[in-house]
């Protein structure tokens, strides 16, 4: 794991709409973007960033990189990720939404044997406030501090980061594991990382309906996490079987995911409560719960 200002970062899909927009924003935030990749655009530059046709070609010129942020089209994402792994990159941030799940299965099989960390897909990536931005997080919502923020959504995470910042609670990291059904890194993985991270004092976990990530996280927190955790779950009122936007935020039928009621907001909230984890009912209650946990003075209300 290397998420510091010294991290050297590659952008795959730097000439795609989203990549072209965010590469300079990441750079402006202080992230060392050493090269971009876009087949057919080798030899050009984008806002001063040299662009190459392939990852391995970029690395042969600019040297090794720590992470790559992938902005390519959904059906090209598996190939881009495998290309990065083949070139030796072991931290991948998959921004792109809409990658077919079976492509993710193939990628994750490969990631496991190569010990590659895959963040996302359908994720705004990761921010270490004041230090490093790998993805879309709006830097102005964040401020350095000691709250580790992990989530499954983009804009809701920004919302909560802003609530924390406005309440005077800075963040050690903001990371989104992704809104799709099949994602790389998991809540337990990040809980473990933040539990060991010196700058994190409290963890805010922002979950949502669908799947059993929150149930697994609750279980893992009870078993293995020493630092305090505050949870929030979105989707109490979401209609069953409807896709809310995230491919992952859907309560599936019984057969597809045996274990009956897993996936509902109630199941997740109950899992957190059973693990004695405070659950915020509304997003704006999170800062107060954090302060209570850290025994900080409450804001007047």
């Amino acid at each position: 794991m290397n998420f510091t200002p010294s991290s050297r970062v590659l952008i795959q899909g730097i000439t795609q709409p989203l990549g072209a927009t965010y590469a300079p924003l990441m750079q402006a935030y202080g992230t060392q973007i050493v090269a971009g990749v876009s087949p057919g655009c080798g030899g050009t530059t984008h806002q001063g960033i040299p662009v190459f046709d392939m990852v391995e070609q970029a690395l042969s010129v600019v040297g090794a990189v720590d992470s790559t942020v992938i902005f390519v089209q959904p059906y090209a994402a598996l190939d881009a990720a495998l290309e990065a792994i083949a070139a030796g990159i072991r931290q991948l941030v998959l921004i792109t939404e809409g990658i077919p799940p079976l492509d993710m299965v193939s990628l994750l099989r490969k990631a496991e044997v190569t010990e590659t960390l895959v963040i996302g897909p359908n994720s705004p990536g990761l921010i270490v406030p004041g230090q490093l931005l790998l993805g879309l997080h709006p830097g102005e919502f964040y401020t350095p501090g000691h709250v580790g923020l992990i989530s499954r959504s983009g804009t809701l995470t920004y919302e909560i980061a802003l609530e924390l910042t406005q309440a005077g609670l800075g963040q050690s990291i903001g990371v989104c594991i992704g809104g799709d059904a099949i994602v790389g890194s998991s809540f337990p993985q990040w809980l473990q990382i933040l539990d060991e991270d010196d700058s994190t004092e409290v963890i805010v976990l922002v979950g949502e309906i669908g799947g059993d990530s929150e149930e697994a996280a609750a279980h893992y927190i009870a078993e293995a996490i020493d630092k305090p955790v505050i949870a929030y779950v979105a989707g109490r009122t979401a209609p069953r079987g409807r896709r809310m936007g995230h491919a992952g935020a859907i309560i599936s039928s019984q057969t597809a995911e045996p274990g009956t009621e897993v996936g509902t907001a109630d199941s997740k909230i109950n899992a957190f409560r059973r693990a004695k984890i405070p659950v915020a009912d509304r997003p704006w209650q999170i800062p107060d719960l954090v302060k209570k946990t850290l025994k900080l003075p409450m804001r007047k209300g």
Partner: protein, 399 residues
């Protein structure tokens, strides 16, 4: 997205999974051209399960009975859903009924093979005996044999059932499916196997790379549950609040908060987060514009809560889109410039009350832009929700 039984069976047939001779029936008189010998089973083609228990499946012995039965089935809603197509299928005598499925399990990020010796309509019994095998590495037929053994099969059934699973898995991978289910798999006294009913769930995100599958689906109603739609999703029939957000998590959190505050969401619309590869300020503006138009056209919406949190596009650009939308609904007199903004808004045709909360860059510019069209920019989600519910309650009292 789910396929109807007859569509699933078309794919089964292509893959060499044995299915009975069958014929699609679009209207009762189609039965006069039936090429399958009687007795025949007529099956309602609906997305909902459990049709058998409520009369959606009927055995018929001749054309007269068949036409009558078809009329009945066409007019029989299954959990509220009317079939637009029936399937006429040959009858088959089975000794036992198994359950088989290949499904993508999101918890472990792997496909899983499922099987039970107790298939058929009693799902609970099937579940109790359900065996599963995780396809942790690249699939190879031994995974299917592993399931057959876990199911307790012996002798020739091991190969016939695992051969079936192998084809189901190939179908699953070739078409990027979320689920392939055969229930029941009919097993005859002599050990022959036959897919008697089938269910396939297509993955929405992968569909665009499967033109043949898209064409198959285009034949049927795409307005089924679970389908990702660009149209607003209906909630409470007596709700008055429309909610428009960008991003699924924010959408759900906002809707939860409205409900918790005592409001009743009527419809909601997620105009999309910012992780589409082709997202851009222009694209987001377009989506917002279309979304506003759709919400405004939804009569039930008396109060429209707009909660947008964006790092991609400055608030003032969003405000400009909202203002433009508002102004476009005004009945246009000869010259707009002659009329004061207040008068314009007053004349707006059936425009819901707006509660706008924006977060991002250039919020103060946005505030002034919105004030120019009599809309107050609200700072916090808490306030915005409170305000929307208050307005909705007032509207209810006034109606």
């Amino acid at each position: 997205m789910d396929l109807l039984e007859y569509q699933a069976k078309e794919l089964f047939r292509e893959m060499g999974i044995p299915v009975l001779p069958s014929q699609r029936i679009d209207r009762p008189k189609d039965l006069k051209g039936l090429t399958i010998p009687y007795p025949v089973v007529l099956k309602s083609q609906v997305y909902i399960g459990g049709r058998g228990r409520v009369g959606g499946v009927r055995f018929v012995e001749n054309t007269i009975d068949a036409v009558a039965a078809a009329q009945t089935i066409f007019n029989l809603p299954i959990m509220g859903e009317y079939p637009t197509v029936l399937l006429a299928e040959a009858k088959y005598d089975v000794d036992r009924e198994f359950y088989l499925a290949v499904v993508l399990n999101r918890s472990i990020c792997r496909p899983v093979l499922l099987g039970s010796q107790k298939g058929g309509i009693d799902v609970q019994t099937a579940l109790e005996q359900m065996q599963h095998v995780v396809v942790d590495q690249e699939f190879s037929p031994f995974y299917a044999r592993r399931l057959a053994l876990k199911m307790g099969l012996q002798g020739a059934l091991i190969e016939s059932v695992s051969g079936m699973l192998e084809k189901m898995y190939r179908l699953f991978v070739q078409h990027d499916l979320d689920l392939v289910e055969i229930n029941p798999l009919g097993v005859t006294a002599t050990g022959e196997v036959m897919a008697l009913d089938g269910k396939i769930t297509v993955n929405d995100d992968a569909l665009a790379r499967h033109p043949a599958l898209s064409a198959l689906i285009a034949q049927s109603d795409v307005n089924q549950p679970g389908h990702l739609s660009a149209a607003p999703t209906a909630m409470e029939p007596d709700g008055q609040v429309g909610i428009l957000c960008n991003g699924a998590g924010l959408m759900m959190a906002t809707m939860d908060a409205v409900s918790q505050a005592g409001g009743k969401p009527a419809v909601f619309l997620n105009i999309g987060g910012e992780t589409q590869w082709d997202a851009s300020p222009t694209a987001l503006r377009d989506q917002l514009e279309r979304g506003l138009e759709q919400m405004v056209q939804t009569k039930q919406v008396r109060v429209l809560l707009i909660n947008l949190v964006s790092g991609l596009i400055p608030c003032n650009e969003i405000a400009a889109v909202i203002a433009k939308s508002l102004l476009s609904r005004v009945r246009k007199p000869r010259s707009i410039s002659e009329i004061s903004p207040e008068a314009l808004i007053a004349q707006a045709t059936r425009f819901p009350q707006l509660v706008v909360r924006l977060v991002g860059r250039d919020r103060e510019l946005a505030r002034s832009r919105l004030e120019s069209v009599q809309v107050t920019l609200i700072d916090s989600l808490n306030e915005a929700v409170t305000q929307a519910v208050k307005l909705a309650n007032a509207a209810t009292r006034n109606s």
